[in-house]
Amino acid sequence: MSAPPVARPAAESAKEAPSPAMRSGPAPRPGGDPLIRLFHVSKSYAAGQFSLRDVSVEIKKGELVFLTGPSGAGKTTLMKLLFAAERPSEGQILVLGRNVARVGERGIPQLRRRVGVVFQDFKLIASRTVEENVAVTLEVIGVPPREARAKVFAMLRRVGLQHRRHHRPAALSGGEQQRVALARALVNEPAILLADEPTGNLDAALTVEIMDLIAAAASRGTTVLVASHDAALVRRYARRVLKLDGGRLVEDLPGGAPA
């Protein structure tokens, strides 16, 4: 099966300054086989009404890609398709070599263990502590408790929350809660990180804080797809941008191009 042609407009010159996270170390060059491939994917929730229409795209290992577009453009739908929360109405989706359109009930957990997801509303378990919230990712795969504790502690230190590990989410600020969600998504070192409007509920300072952590994950080799309608944020990080409008992929701007 050969990949369909994917529109890649020529890069425009990047004038934006790179973010601090990008300056902090050399990012590995994205390359190799794509980790995510969409072939003519459409998603319809009602007859004749498409949330996504004929989207074809490839994302390579280590890429940090922004998914932009106005509300209702299909960003969240595309994200949901990638972690098998939804099935495409048409087309095929390959994530880490698995055909998500055909993956069975048993295959979904296997897929999700390699794909970290961060949501706008954090989705933390209110009754559990920060440490326990991050540990759930390791618990579901049966990581021994001692090893899990060590990994969780290291991850919380990476996001600067080791001192808050015994607190419950309600005691944390929005930015801290999103850092916990990010730690939960990354603690198992997933191949892919999906972030759906991760900074949508945060102020400007916290937005930079969270995005720097996400960019740092990409610099470690994780393939990252961030859905955001924040044009300033997209410009700041100057990476590849996929623009959706009315369910169609209308632009695919390579890294460094203004959105």
Partner: protein, 300 residues
């Protein structure tokens, strides 16, 4: 293998966290199973004691086969030999007319009343002790029928009529108990299943998050099954404890009536084995309720 063990550890931990986290639904499930255990266990106590009483009467049960007045002593002994070959008969003793009169005289305490009688009115008989396995009412009737077939046997007497009636009563109580048990079991199962379903709904956000990080259906469901087992076992144990209390309060009140009607005033509670069965049964109910709840609720 070790991953599986650690997952089991996480399942158990999640189950106990769930029990602590939803005390109301946990309490309702435990109380439902406890309340259902009391009448079920109570019926078991009643039927168990009726059975024990029946066994006790059976132990004392003797049949008497009265012989025709024409049967001579040697024929009577021969009949005794034939009777002892009937299945279900332990031993047979031939009682001649003279022996019968002698026993009667002894029983009357040497009264002169019998001196007035010129002929011996008492028939010769076979005094029959039943084997243990023949003490059930239906077996007594079969033995009695077989004795009737022997030549020279005029009549067979014994406590079998009473035992038959009592046996029927026991069967009736057992059948009623089974019927009541079925209805109670079904109602309990429904209540427990719906209560655990409420617990599943209460934790649906948590389950959604676990599903998003890669928890399998097994991972989502097993903690609820463990919760069901724990709730059921605790409910069963509480039910048995309450029944034990009721038993010890009720028996002294009923002692006189039991003594009067049954000549017996010392009923026993359930054996430790049966207490264990009730507690395990409670756990099984909890498990079944949780399984129904987990299967009927889309948790992933």
């Amino acid at each position: 293998m070790t991953r599986v063990l650690y997952q089991l550890y996480y399942f158990v931990r999640a189950a106990f966290a769930g029990l602590r986290g939803s005390p109301l639904t946990t309490g309702v499930s435990i109380a439902t199973i406890a309340v259902a255990t009391i009448p079920l266990g109570g019926l078991w106590v009643v039927t168990g004691n009726m059975r024990a009483l029946l066994d006790r009467f059976g132990e004392e049960l003797q049949l008497t086969a009265f012989l025709d007045s024409k049967v001579r002593s040697d024929q009577g002994r021969s009949l005794a030999a034939q009777a002892s070959a009937i299945p279900g008969i332990d031993r047979v003793e031939f009682v001649s007319q003279e022996q019968a009169l002698e026993r009667f005289r002894t029983r009357l305490g040497g009264s002169a009343l019998l001196d007035a009688i010129e002929t011996n009115p008492l028939p010769a008989s076979l005094s029959i002790a039943l084997a243990e396995e023949a003490r059930a009412p239906e077996r007594v009737a079969a033995v009695s029928e077989a004795l009737h077939q022997l030549p020279g046997v005029e009549d067979v007497a014994g406590g079998e009529t009473w035992i038959e009636g009592y046996g029927r009563a026991l069967r009736l109580v057992r059948s009623a108990g089974m019927g009541l048990g079925l209805v109670l079991s079904f109602a309990t199962l429904l209540i427990v299943a719906n209560t655990i379903r409420l617990a599943v709904y209460a934790r649906r956000d948590e389950l959604e998050i676990l599903s998003l990080v890669g928890a399998s259906r097994t991972h989502l469901r097993v903690p609820f099954l463990i919760e069901g087992v724990v709730q059921g076992a605790i409910g069963g144990a509480i039910g048995v404890a309450l029944l034990f209390g009721i038993f010890h309060v009720a028996v002294p009140q009923l002692r006189d009536a039991l003594e009067l009607f049954l000549g017996w005033s010392d009923p026993s509670f359930l054996s430790p084995r049966n207490v264990g069965i009730l507690v395990v049964g409670g756990a099984a109910f909890g498990l079944a309720g949780a399984a129904i709840a987990a299967l009927r609720t889309r948790v992933a």
